[in-house]
Amino acid sequence: MGGTTPIYSIPYPYIDEVMNATMFQNFANAVDTAIGTVQTAVNANLDKPQVEVVANSMAIPLAVQTTINTWGTPKRDNTGMYSAASPDRITIQTAGIYMVQITQNSLNLGGASTQTSVLWEIYQNAIRQYGERKNDVNSTSLPQTTVNGLIRCNPGDAIQVTVLWTGTGTANLFLANLAAHFVCPLV
């Protein structure tokens, strides 16, 4: 019996052993397995869980915190975080720290409506995580809001986005973009 290396257990013969083909085969097999192990670690970096969904139609009542519930088919979703049956959320499938962001989020005001503030927030299991309020808007323009932060997630966690605006008149969702990117595992 020969020895083995300490990490990947690559076998090698001792100097007093009679060499045979099996020894070379075992050596090659162990190297093959070790390379596969490393490749698996590399591949994990190339395919981290991620999702991005977009919504662009929905009435948003004045002065009522409203959950966006018209998220559509994902631009990307490699772990099934989006389900058309629950278009008001994305659902975490893999435990980890996630960078959750909303970008370009904005409302389209109707007629002579005005907007004095707009608050976009990210919720996890109905608990507010973080958000951004734009004050002093005082216009009919489309102030866009981008919010980006890290949160700790477990499988089944629901990530949702709410919007609350003040002013006068009516508004529809113009564009909302929600994305989650896996940063690291919890262990």
Binding site: T4, Y12, I97, R128, Y130, V147, G149
Partner: protein, 209 residues
């Protein structure tokens, strides 16, 4: 003994046939060393040094003439490494685990205790500083300043940025301050203030051309 051209794996010459056992042993250990280095790098990329802090109590009140230092230290909710040196994310040095490039940021909600002064400022400034022989020097300000508009619920805002920490990483620290100009009443930092830091990469990979 001959060697492969790139990674210098050893190969026996005809006179070495008697030493094949030694050859296989040496080759096995050299393969292992190189593969393990690759795996360590891959694992670090999969598990970048990351911290997340989230406050569980109201901070304040603080007057318009004061500075509130946000205590992330006692509000850690996640860390995936063992921090050597001072385990602080506040006023002390030694707050970074290694040299490298980091993404950092925060989100807060600030509220007034009493009357709110229209358009008065609220500012959170995460200063990334290095201790030097002339004192603490601020190299980065991850900050945000907004104006009060009297909307119920408070002012929700945040900021983020990328910072580079040099080889003298234990001399670096992050200090987060909240200040405001609401002279009519003090202000609080509400529960749930969030901060994070995650490692983006090593300085070794940065090439200036």
């Amino acid at each position: 003994m001959e060697f492969s051209p790139n990674l210098n794996f050893p190969c026996p010459s005809p006179e070495d046939y008697g030493a094949i056992a030694l050859y296989m042993q040496r080759l096995a250990f050299e393969i292992e060393e190189k593969l393990n280095a690759e795996q360590v790098s891959a694992n670090l990329a999969y598990r970048p040094f990351t911290d997340v802090w989230k406050t569980t109590a109201i901070f304040g009140p603080i007057s318009s003439s004061g500075i509130l230092f946000i205590d992330w230290l006692n509000n850690l909710v996640f860390r995936n490494y063992t921090l050597s040196g001072a385990p602080r994310f506040g006023g002390s040095s030694g707050t970074f685990p290694a040299p490298g490039v980091y993404h950092m940021g925060f989100f807060v909600n600030t509220t007034t205790v009493g009357a709110a002064n229209a358009d008065s400022f609220r500012r959170v400034d995460m200063k990334i500083q290095k201790e030097t022989n002339i004192g603490s020097v601020t190299f980065y300000n991850i900050d945000r300043l907004i104006g009060e508009e009297g909307i119920a619920g408070g002012n929700f805002f945040g900021s983020e940025g990328v910072v580079i920490i040099d080889q003298d990483y234990q001399a670096w620290k992050a200090v987060t301050e909240f200040t405001h100009g609401n002279t009519s009443s003090d202000m609080n930092l509400q529960v749930g203030a969030l901060a994070w830091r995650t490692y983006l990469g090593t300085l070794d990979q940065i090439t200036v051309t």
